[in-house]
Protein backbone atom coordinates (compact mmCIF):
# COMPACT_ATOMS: atom_id res chain seq x y z
CA UNK A 1 0.00 0.00 0.00
CA UNK A 2 2.81 2.39 0.88
CA UNK A 3 4.28 1.58 -2.52
CA UNK A 4 1.11 2.85 -4.19
CA UNK A 5 1.30 6.14 -2.37
CA UNK A 6 4.95 6.52 -3.20
CA UNK A 7 4.43 6.03 -6.91
CA UNK A 8 4.55 9.35 -8.66
CA UNK A 9 2.41 8.91 -11.70
CA UNK A 10 -0.75 9.82 -9.85
CA UNK A 11 0.78 12.59 -7.75
CA UNK A 12 0.71 15.10 -10.58
CA UNK A 13 -2.99 14.48 -11.06
CA UNK A 14 -3.54 14.79 -7.32
CA UNK A 15 -1.78 18.15 -7.16
CA UNK A 16 -3.86 19.34 -10.07
CA UNK A 17 -7.05 18.29 -8.31
CA UNK A 18 -5.95 19.96 -5.09
CA UNK A 19 -5.11 23.18 -6.93
CA UNK A 20 -8.46 23.20 -8.73
CA UNK A 21 -10.29 22.92 -5.45
CA UNK A 22 -8.13 25.15 -3.26
CA UNK A 23 -7.14 27.92 -5.67
CA UNK A 24 -9.22 27.86 -8.81
CA UNK A 25 -12.50 27.48 -6.96
CA UNK A 26 -13.82 24.34 -8.62
CA UNK A 27 -16.26 22.65 -6.28
CA UNK A 28 -16.92 18.96 -6.09
CA UNK A 29 -13.36 17.69 -6.03
CA UNK A 30 -13.74 15.53 -3.00
CA UNK A 31 -11.28 13.30 -1.23
CA UNK A 32 -13.22 10.27 -2.44
CA UNK A 33 -13.15 11.46 -6.05
CA UNK A 34 -9.39 11.93 -5.95
CA UNK A 35 -8.83 8.59 -4.27
CA UNK A 36 -11.04 6.59 -6.60
CA UNK A 37 -9.66 8.25 -9.73
CA UNK A 38 -5.99 8.35 -8.85
CA UNK A 39 -5.30 5.90 -6.04
CA UNK A 40 -8.07 3.28 -6.29
CA UNK A 41 -5.96 0.59 -4.58
CA UNK A 42 -5.37 2.67 -1.48
CA UNK A 43 -7.92 2.44 1.35
CA UNK A 44 -9.53 5.70 2.47
CA UNK A 45 -7.98 5.68 5.95
CA UNK A 46 -4.51 5.58 4.42
CA UNK A 47 -5.31 8.04 1.70
CA UNK A 48 -6.66 10.70 4.01
CA UNK A 49 -3.41 11.59 5.83
CA UNK A 50 -1.48 11.39 2.56
CA UNK A 51 -3.86 13.85 0.95
CA UNK A 52 -3.66 16.15 3.96
CA UNK A 53 0.11 16.11 3.78
CA UNK A 54 0.19 16.98 0.08
CA UNK A 55 -2.44 19.66 0.54
CA UNK A 56 -0.43 21.17 3.39
CA UNK A 57 2.73 21.22 1.31
CA UNK A 58 1.01 22.81 -1.66
CA UNK A 59 -0.63 25.45 0.51
CA UNK A 60 2.68 26.28 2.21
CA UNK A 61 4.35 26.74 -1.15
CA UNK A 62 1.52 28.90 -2.49
CA UNK A 63 1.22 30.93 0.69
CA UNK A 64 4.88 31.84 0.62
CA UNK A 65 4.81 32.31 -3.16
CA UNK A 66 8.10 30.44 -3.17
CA UNK A 67 10.75 31.16 -5.72
CA UNK A 68 12.81 28.26 -6.96
CA UNK A 69 15.52 28.54 -4.32
CA UNK A 70 13.02 28.60 -1.49
CA UNK A 71 11.18 25.70 -3.12
CA UNK A 72 14.34 23.59 -3.30
CA UNK A 73 15.15 24.24 0.34
CA UNK A 74 11.61 23.62 1.48
CA UNK A 75 11.19 20.36 -0.43
CA UNK A 76 14.60 19.08 0.69
CA UNK A 77 13.57 19.70 4.29
CA UNK A 78 10.34 17.78 3.65
CA UNK A 79 12.29 14.77 2.38
CA UNK A 80 14.37 14.69 5.55
CA UNK A 81 11.38 14.85 7.91
CA UNK A 82 9.91 11.84 9.65
CA UNK A 83 6.79 10.95 7.64
CA UNK A 84 7.77 13.42 4.96
CA UNK A 85 7.99 12.89 1.22
CA UNK A 86 10.29 10.96 -1.05
CA UNK A 87 12.72 12.72 -3.35
CA UNK A 88 10.72 11.48 -6.34
CA UNK A 89 7.62 13.09 -4.88
CA UNK A 90 9.60 16.27 -4.26
CA UNK A 91 10.54 16.33 -7.93
CA UNK A 92 6.90 16.00 -9.01
CA UNK A 93 5.83 18.79 -6.63
CA UNK A 94 8.65 21.02 -7.84
CA UNK A 95 7.69 20.50 -11.49
CA UNK A 96 4.05 21.16 -10.68
CA UNK A 97 4.73 24.44 -8.90
CA UNK A 98 7.04 25.68 -11.65
CA UNK A 99 4.39 25.18 -14.31
CA UNK A 100 1.34 26.27 -12.30
CA UNK A 101 2.71 29.05 -10.12
CA UNK A 102 1.56 31.93 -12.33
CA UNK A 103 -1.96 30.59 -12.75
CA UNK A 104 -2.31 29.90 -9.03
CA UNK A 105 -1.21 33.40 -8.08
CA UNK A 106 -3.64 34.83 -10.58
CA UNK A 107 -6.47 32.76 -9.10
CA UNK A 108 -5.59 33.81 -5.56
CA UNK A 109 -5.64 37.44 -6.66
CA UNK A 110 -9.02 36.98 -8.31
CA UNK A 111 -10.43 35.23 -5.24
CA UNK A 112 -9.44 38.14 -3.09
CA UNK A 113 -10.95 40.74 -5.37
CA UNK A 114 -13.96 41.85 -3.41
CA UNK A 115 -14.98 44.60 -5.77
CA UNK A 116 -16.18 44.18 -9.30
CA UNK A 117 -14.00 43.01 -12.08
CA UNK A 118 -14.27 43.29 -15.83
CA UNK A 119 -16.19 40.21 -16.90
CA UNK A 120 -16.51 41.01 -20.59
CA UNK A 121 -15.74 43.60 -23.18
CA UNK A 122 -16.90 44.08 -26.76
CA UNK A 123 -16.96 47.04 -29.06
CA UNK A 124 -17.73 48.43 -32.48
CA UNK A 125 -16.82 51.57 -34.34
CA UNK A 126 -19.51 53.55 -36.11
CA UNK A 127 -19.12 56.46 -38.41
CA UNK A 128 -21.66 59.07 -37.44
CA UNK A 129 -22.65 61.07 -40.50
CA UNK A 130 -24.94 63.55 -38.88
CA UNK A 131 -26.16 64.45 -35.46
CA UNK A 132 -29.06 66.49 -34.18
CA UNK A 133 -26.92 68.11 -31.52
CA UNK A 134 -23.84 68.99 -33.45
CA UNK A 135 -22.67 69.57 -36.95
CA UNK A 136 -20.13 66.76 -37.03
CA UNK A 137 -20.03 64.87 -40.26
CA UNK A 138 -18.33 61.51 -40.64
CA UNK A 139 -17.20 61.39 -37.04
CA UNK A 140 -16.05 58.00 -35.94
CA UNK A 141 -17.53 56.88 -32.68
CA UNK A 142 -16.35 53.89 -30.71
CA UNK A 143 -19.08 52.11 -28.80
CA UNK A 144 -17.97 49.78 -26.08
CA UNK A 145 -19.95 47.34 -23.99
CA UNK A 146 -18.44 46.48 -20.65
CA UNK A 147 -19.75 43.80 -18.33
CA UNK A 148 -18.76 44.74 -14.82
CA UNK A 149 -19.46 42.52 -11.87
CA UNK A 150 -18.46 40.29 -9.05
CA UNK A 151 -18.25 36.58 -9.56
CA UNK A 152 -21.62 35.10 -10.37
CA UNK A 153 -23.29 38.48 -10.50
CA UNK A 154 -23.19 41.16 -13.18
CA UNK A 155 -23.75 44.57 -11.61
CA UNK A 156 -23.52 46.73 -14.68
CA UNK A 157 -23.51 46.45 -18.40
CA UNK A 158 -22.42 49.72 -19.87
CA UNK A 159 -22.65 50.72 -23.44
CA UNK A 160 -20.67 53.87 -23.70
CA UNK A 161 -19.48 55.89 -26.57
CA UNK A 162 -16.55 58.14 -27.01
CA UNK A 163 -15.30 60.10 -29.90
CA UNK A 164 -11.86 59.68 -31.38
CA UNK A 165 -8.96 61.16 -29.45
CA UNK A 166 -9.51 64.85 -30.10
CA UNK A 167 -12.95 64.84 -28.53
CA UNK A 168 -12.58 62.44 -25.63
CA UNK A 169 -13.34 63.63 -22.13
CA UNK A 170 -10.49 64.68 -19.89
CA UNK A 171 -8.30 61.93 -18.52
CA UNK A 172 -6.91 62.04 -15.00
CA UNK A 173 -5.43 59.35 -12.89
CA UNK A 174 -3.92 58.80 -9.48
CA UNK A 175 -1.20 56.32 -8.69
CA UNK A 176 -1.05 54.55 -5.38
CA UNK A 177 1.48 52.01 -4.22
CA UNK A 178 1.25 50.36 -0.82
CA UNK A 179 4.47 50.00 1.14
Amino acid sequence: MAGELESCKSLSGLLNGLAQEAFHGHPGITEELLRSQLYPEVPPEEFRPFLAKMKGILKSIASADMDFNQLEAFLTAQTKKQGGITSDQAAVISKFWKSHKTKIRESLMNQSRWDSGLRGLSWRVDSKSQSRHSAQIHTPVAIMELEIGKSGQIVAVLALWFYSCGQMGCLRGSQETKP
Binding site: R105, V125, H138, E145
Partner: protein
Protein backbone atom coordinates in the same frame (compact mmCIF):
# COMPACT_ATOMS: atom_id res chain seq x y z
CA UNK B 1 -18.96 36.39 -22.25
CA UNK B 2 -22.03 34.54 -21.00
CA UNK B 3 -24.60 35.41 -23.63
CA UNK B 4 -27.96 34.91 -22.02
CA UNK B 5 -28.95 38.58 -22.19
CA UNK B 6 -29.86 40.29 -25.43
CA UNK B 7 -26.82 41.68 -27.19
CA UNK B 8 -26.61 45.42 -26.77
CA UNK B 9 -24.29 46.05 -29.62
CA UNK B 10 -26.44 45.28 -32.63
CA UNK B 11 -26.38 48.08 -35.17
CA UNK B 12 -29.76 49.50 -34.31
CA UNK B 13 -29.17 49.74 -30.57
CA UNK B 14 -29.64 53.15 -29.07
CA UNK B 15 -26.57 54.10 -27.13
CA UNK B 16 -27.06 56.95 -24.75
CA UNK B 17 -24.42 56.66 -22.06
CA UNK B 18 -21.44 58.83 -22.63
CA UNK B 19 -18.05 58.33 -21.09
CA UNK B 20 -17.52 61.52 -19.15
CA UNK B 21 -14.36 60.68 -17.29
CA UNK B 22 -11.93 57.81 -16.87
CA UNK B 23 -9.99 57.57 -13.61
CA UNK B 24 -7.47 54.92 -12.73
CA UNK B 25 -5.16 53.87 -9.99
CA UNK B 26 -2.34 51.39 -9.92
CA UNK B 27 -1.95 49.49 -6.67
CA UNK B 28 0.10 46.63 -5.36
CA UNK B 29 -1.31 43.69 -3.44
CA UNK B 30 1.21 42.91 -0.73
CA UNK B 31 -0.33 40.06 1.21
CA UNK B 32 -3.45 37.90 1.29
CA UNK B 33 -4.68 35.53 3.93
CA UNK B 34 -4.17 32.78 1.35
CA UNK B 35 -0.84 34.03 0.09
CA UNK B 36 1.24 35.88 2.64
CA UNK B 37 4.06 36.91 0.41
CA UNK B 38 2.81 38.55 -2.72
CA UNK B 39 3.79 41.49 -4.82
CA UNK B 40 1.09 41.77 -7.40
CA UNK B 41 0.17 44.89 -9.31
CA UNK B 42 -3.45 45.61 -10.08
CA UNK B 43 -5.32 48.36 -11.86
CA UNK B 44 -8.56 49.88 -10.57
CA UNK B 45 -10.68 51.94 -12.95
CA UNK B 46 -13.63 54.24 -12.30
CA UNK B 47 -15.71 55.32 -15.26
CA UNK B 48 -17.99 58.31 -14.92
CA UNK B 49 -20.87 57.76 -17.30
CA UNK B 50 -24.10 59.51 -18.00
CA UNK B 51 -26.24 61.33 -20.43
CA UNK B 52 -25.57 64.98 -20.90
CA UNK B 53 -28.07 66.35 -18.45
CA UNK B 54 -28.93 63.36 -16.34
CA UNK B 55 -27.31 61.81 -13.31
CA UNK B 56 -23.69 60.86 -13.54
CA UNK B 57 -22.90 57.34 -12.37
CA UNK B 58 -19.60 55.90 -11.26
CA UNK B 59 -18.76 52.37 -12.33
CA UNK B 60 -15.66 50.88 -10.78
CA UNK B 61 -13.81 47.68 -11.38
CA UNK B 62 -10.46 46.13 -10.77
CA UNK B 63 -8.16 44.17 -13.08
CA UNK B 64 -5.08 42.09 -12.58
CA UNK B 65 -2.41 42.53 -15.20
CA UNK B 66 -3.52 40.00 -17.86
CA UNK B 67 -7.08 41.38 -18.14
CA UNK B 68 -5.68 44.90 -18.03
CA UNK B 69 -3.36 44.12 -20.93
CA UNK B 70 -6.34 42.85 -22.89
CA UNK B 71 -8.31 45.99 -21.98
CA UNK B 72 -5.46 48.17 -23.19
CA UNK B 73 -5.07 46.14 -26.36
CA UNK B 74 -8.76 46.66 -27.20
CA UNK B 75 -8.33 50.44 -26.97
CA UNK B 76 -5.28 50.27 -29.18
CA UNK B 77 -7.25 48.33 -31.77
CA UNK B 78 -10.08 50.84 -31.63
CA UNK B 79 -7.62 53.71 -32.04
CA UNK B 80 -6.01 52.01 -35.01
CA UNK B 81 -9.38 51.56 -36.73
CA UNK B 82 -10.44 55.13 -36.05
CA UNK B 83 -7.19 56.34 -37.60
CA UNK B 84 -8.16 54.69 -40.87
CA UNK B 85 -11.57 56.32 -41.08
Amino acid sequence: MEGSSEPLLDAKAEVTNQLLDFQWKLGMAVSLDSCRSLKYPKVAVTLKVGERSSQVQNKSFEMTIPPFQNFYRQFKEIAAIIETL
